[in-house]
């Protein structure tokens, strides 16, 4: 009834004009009838009209009152109730603080989490017509995506009737001079149409023009807004200046708008100009993005690409590879991230529900003390709807205050969390408290209001009001206690689900941490650099540098070992190739690492058979290769090569700089123990090692093993590198421990988030349990007093109180476990070597919840034991 009541008032407010018109009509009809009656009683028309006016009374004051009646009263009621609610809260600041705190926690955490969900999964990308943005691949199979080759890219580009813009993107790092010392700054090499793909225009100057990615074009660069601020202090005259990348001056032609591209890893963009050697169909090195023309659907684009693929069959090497067009947005968010975000959101929703349950419980407990007040008001004539309205308004005050505090908390949470999670999110995700997020917060407040407000309202005012007046305050109402116990059981159950999830994730994380990376983790520091083509034009110049750096580093007293390699453990190997045995058609796909003779020793990777890479494997000497155990195992499994050492295999390996890969025959000289080359949870990859001296490259990493704390050795390492090349900046300086941490980030973040929420949930459930038990003890003081007077010992009282708490706990545990059985399946893909129903984890979760619950119940139970029978009986007797 109260809803209909409120709705009518609300409608009346909006339909003021219509109602005014209707009233006008009624008055006119009334007057006419009054006149007719008056004429019928013998008055002249003139007198009749006067008589009708007289009988009706003042029209304007009546209209005024009519409006008051239909619109203002509910507003007044609302304001009065709100005032009353605030006054009531002010009278009981403890209750207010706890409730508002709980709601702020629940709403705040949810709002912050929603901001992430919205930014990553819901909001359209922050570019015009994002649905037209695509990513293009060559696809060896339905599930695999591969980069494409230069010539194939150029073929795609010719399909310009479906693409408005098509661009490649290639991440790289360049040395940028900053106050003397050069630093490595991440950037991207792209095609001239790159920014047209995103539909982004420069804030200052311009982006690339057609032809600026062609041979002979003047070197130009576009800066991100933040890089422009940091490097050039926001100087608007920057367009007249040059930026030296690896010592080569590039004219600055534009600065991007602030925002999205500032979250991109790249700080600057320059055109990628193909070198003649790169015009081949062998090297799959290009990541391609595009923007479809308006009106071209994804299906049409895919059909076109399939046709194109068929027409290229004569020139493409990989006959079974197809061309695939994917929505750009889809590729930004991986499955793991999507699942982790949904998981965290689910967890935080449970926390909100538990917080709501606690608030409802508090309101119910408070409602018990207000029964008399409510009964009195009902007796004085307040309608039931009016009373519920009052309670709801009071709830609204609570929820709005909680919501406002929650939004503040969400803001703080996001502020604190975004630097931690930003690296895991796509650059298009802008974490902020915007209108959509505020809308969500408002919806959450309404939902909370309904959850926490309605139940206690009905409980309080639908009970027998007359009965309440007579009922002594101390008597606890059976139905209310049952509702409160049910709420606590639900809280316990929900917490158990969360704790089970957290326990599984933590166990999985622990398993992951135990995985042997196969390399030394402690006292090892790694860093990367790129040899600029200008200073190191030839393979010889590069190998000379490698040797010089390593030799000098090894002579430093604090350094035990040092090596140069392409790629680091756990960070993935970029190069993948097929090994072929003479006379065998099928190849074995392996990852290829280029390492110097000290790489295995530095990382403590033992040689299992044959030998490792040695100093004699130089340019000019016969090419050699070392296998990982996994590669050797596959080789023997697939091709029956029992002892690979000594065998010669063929492969394609890249040349130095822009020189493309070429067919090489290499002799296998040894097998080493497996090194984990990618994330710890992924299966072992077959890896082969070739001498860096024979296959040098520019994008190198240094691995250094130190005698003491590795970061302490950094200044020495920098000094040595400076002695060899003063212009070469070192970047991504990380200890091996950090590398390992980073490789587990995908698993750690959701685990800690769910863990934190589970902890909060357990505490809230404990709080709820405490509240109910404490309330029961307070209400049963007299009963306890009587029992103690009759000879019950304190121990009996404690155990009987605990028994009731335990019964709630056990029912909650059972329900929670059932829920966990149903829900932990969702975790499956995030778990590593742990079953989603791992009995140890589930049992642990139950034990934790039971302990927390008993602890919460012990406090009021011990208070019950201290009840002094004489005071208890005298107090209320």
């Amino acid at each position: 009834m109260t809803l209909r009541f409120a709705a009518r008032r609300l409608l009346a407010l909006f339909r003021k004009r219509r109602l005014d018109g209707e009233l006008e009509g009624e008055i006119r009809a009334h007057m006419e009838m009054a006149e007719l009656d008056a004429i019928a009683s013998g008055l002249s028309p003139e007198e009749a009209r006067r008589e009708a006016r007289r009988g009706f009374g003042g029209i304007e004051p009546m209209k005024e009152e009519h409006r008051d009646q239909r619109s203002v009263r509910w507003v007044e009621n609302l304001l009065r109730d709100a005032r009353y609610g605030i006054a009531a809260l002010a009278r009981d600041p403890g209750f207010a603080a706890v409730t508002i705190g709980l709601l702020a926690l629940g709403i705040g955490a949810n709002t912050a989490m929603f901001s992430i969900v919205d930014a990553v999964l819901l909001k359209p990308l922050p570019f015009p017509a994002p649905e037209r943005m695509v990513r293009l691949w060559e696809t060896p199979s339905a599930t695999q995506h591969n980069n494409t080759t230069t010539l194939t890219y150029l073929d795609w580009k010719r399909q310009s009737d479906i693409f408005e813009a098509l661009s490649l993107e290639e991440s790289f790092r360049a040395a940028v001079a900053a106050d003397g010392d050069p630093v490595r700054v991440p950037g991207k090499m792209v095609s001239a149409e790159y920014f047209q793909v995103f539909g982004v225009k420069a804030a200052i100057g311009r982006t690339f023009e057609t032809g600026e990615d062609q041979q002979g074009a003047r070197p130009v660069v576009v800066l991100s807004h933040s890089f422009w601020q940091a490097r050039f202090g926001g100087d608007r005259g920057v367009l007249q200046r040059d930026l030296a990348l690896d010592g080569e001056p590039h004219r600055i032609i534009g600065v991007l708008p602030a925002g999205t591209f500032d979250r991109n890893e790249a700080r600057f963009w320059k055109p990628l100009i193909f070198k003649p050697e790169q015009l081949n169909r062998r090297q799959h090195w290009l990541r391609v993005i595009g923007r479809l023309r308006p009106g071209v659907s994804l299906e049409q684009a895919q059909a076109k690409m399939t046709l194109l693929r068929a027409s290229l069959n004569a020139v493409i090497y990989q006959k079974d590879w197809g061309f695939t067009v994917d929505p750009f947005a889809e590729m930004l968010v991986g499955d793991t991230l999507r699942r982790s975000i949904y998981l965290a959101f689910g967890a935080v929703l449970i926390v909100l529900l538990i917080a709501c349950a606690n608030v409802a419980n508090l309101v119910l407990a408070k409602g018990a003390t207000r029964r008399k007040e409510m009964a009195l008001r009902a007796a004085l004539g307040a309608g039931r709807g009016r009373l519920i309205g009052q309670l709801l308004t009071e709830g609204l005050v609570l929820c709005v205050l909680g919501g406002v505090a929650g939004i503040g908390m969400a803001y703080l949470l996001l502020h604190a969390a975004s630097p931690l999670v930003a690296a895991s999110l796509p650059f298009t995700a802008d974490l902020s408290v915007d209108l959509r997020v505020l809308g969500f917060a408002a919806a959450a407040v309404m939902a909370v209001l309904i959850l926490t407000g309605l139940l206690p309202s009905f409980q309080t005012s639908f009970g027998k009001l007359s009965g309440s007046l007579n009922e002594a305050a101390r008597g606890s109402s059976g139905s209310r206690a049952a509702v409160r116990r049910t709420i606590v059981i639900a809280e316990v159950a929900a917490s158990v689900v969360l704790i089970c999830g957290a326990a599984l994730l933590f166990k999985s994380l622990a398993k992951l941490q135990q995985v042997d990376a196969g390399v030394r983790i402690d006292h090892v520091i790694t860093m990367s650099t790129d040899l600029p083509a200008t200073a190191y034009p030839t393979a010889e110049s590069a190998t000379t540098f490698f040797k010089a750096v390593v030799e000098r580093l090894r002579s430093v007293p604090g350094i035990e070992q040092a090596s140069v390699s392409i790629g680091l453990p756990l960070e993935g190997v970029r190069w993948g190739e097929f090994l072929s045995l003479p006379g065998v058609k099928e190849g074995l796909l392996v990852r290829v690492k280029m390492v110097d003779p000290w790489y295995f020793a530095t990382l403590d990777i033992p040689v299992e058979s044959g030998r490792g890479i040695e100093d004699r494997d130089r340019a000019g000497a016969p090419p050699v290769m070392v296998l990982s155990q996994e590669a050797a195992r596959l080789l023997s499994g697939r091709f029956g090569v029992a002892n690979p050492v000594g065998r010669v295999v063929g492969s394609y390996l890249p040349g130095y700089g822009p020189i493309p890969e070429s067919q090489v025959n290499l002799q296998i000289v040894g097998v080493i123990r497996n090194e984990r080359t990618s994330r710890l949870q992924s299966p072992l990859e077959p890896v082969v090692y070739v001498p860096l001296a024979q296959f040098p490259r520019q994008d190198i990493s240094l691995v250094v093993r130190t005698r003491s704390e590795p970061l302490g050795a950094m200044s020495g390492i920098r000094e040595i590198v400076r002695q060899v090349d003063a212009h070469l900046p070192l970047g991504e300086v990380r200890t091996m421990e950090e590398v390992k941490e980073r490789s587990m980030r995908w698993a750690k973040q959701p685990t800690w988030v769910v863990g934190a929420f589970a902890g909060v949930a357990a505490l809230l459930a404990a709080l709820g349990l405490y509240g109910v038990v404490a309330h029961a003890v307070t209400q049963q003081r007299r009963e306890i007093g009587i029992r103690m007077a009759l000879g019950a010992r304190p121990g009996d009282v404690v155990s009987s109180t605990l028994r009731s708490a335990l019964s709630m706990l056990l029912v909650g545990l059972a329900a929670g476990l059932a829920g966990a059985f149903a829900l932990t399946r969702a975790l499956k893909s995030l778990l590593f070597e742990v079953s989603a129903l791992d009995p140890v984890s589930l049992a642990l979760a139950c034990v934790v919840m039971t302990l927390v619950g008993i602890l919460a119940a012990l406090i009021p139970a011990s208070r019950a034991a201290r009840v002094d029978p004489t005071t208890a009986l005298r107090d209320e007797g």
Partner: protein
């Protein structure tokens, strides 16, 4: 205007309207006002207009409902009728009124 006429007692107009609709069935505003005047036999001074705010109030409480109909003057007017909640409310209001008058009556007797 005769001197002995009194205003409608405060708070009783709602009761009068409900009772009128209860006995007479659906009516439009003018008829309700006339009916009250007739029953009261000119004992009360009723501004006929004042029933309209009362009618909208009763409607919003859900005690009466309106339907469009045609008046004797062939005009489209609202006809008011009692809802179920309205008849319940009438019983409550009558009981309250009787209790109140009984109390006052007893009080006056005791004083005399």
């Amino acid at each position: 205007m005769s001197e002995h006429k009194t205003d409608v007692p405060y708070g009783t107009l709602d009761l009068l309207i409900l009772k009128t609709l209860d006995t007479m069935g659906p009516m439009h505003g003018y008829r309700i006002a006339r009916r009250i005047e007739q029953v009261a036999e000119n004992l009360v001074r009723l501004n006929q207009g004042s029933i309209y705010p009362a009618l909208i109030r009763l409607e919003e409480q859900g005690w009466i409902r309106t339907q469009w109909g045609v008046s004797e003057t062939k005009r489209k007017v609202k006809f008011y009728s009692l809802t179920r909640a309205g008849s319940k409310q009438l019983n409550v209001a009558v009981a309250n009124w009787e209790r109140a008058t009984a109390l006052v009556a007893r009080f006056l007797e005791a004083q005399s």
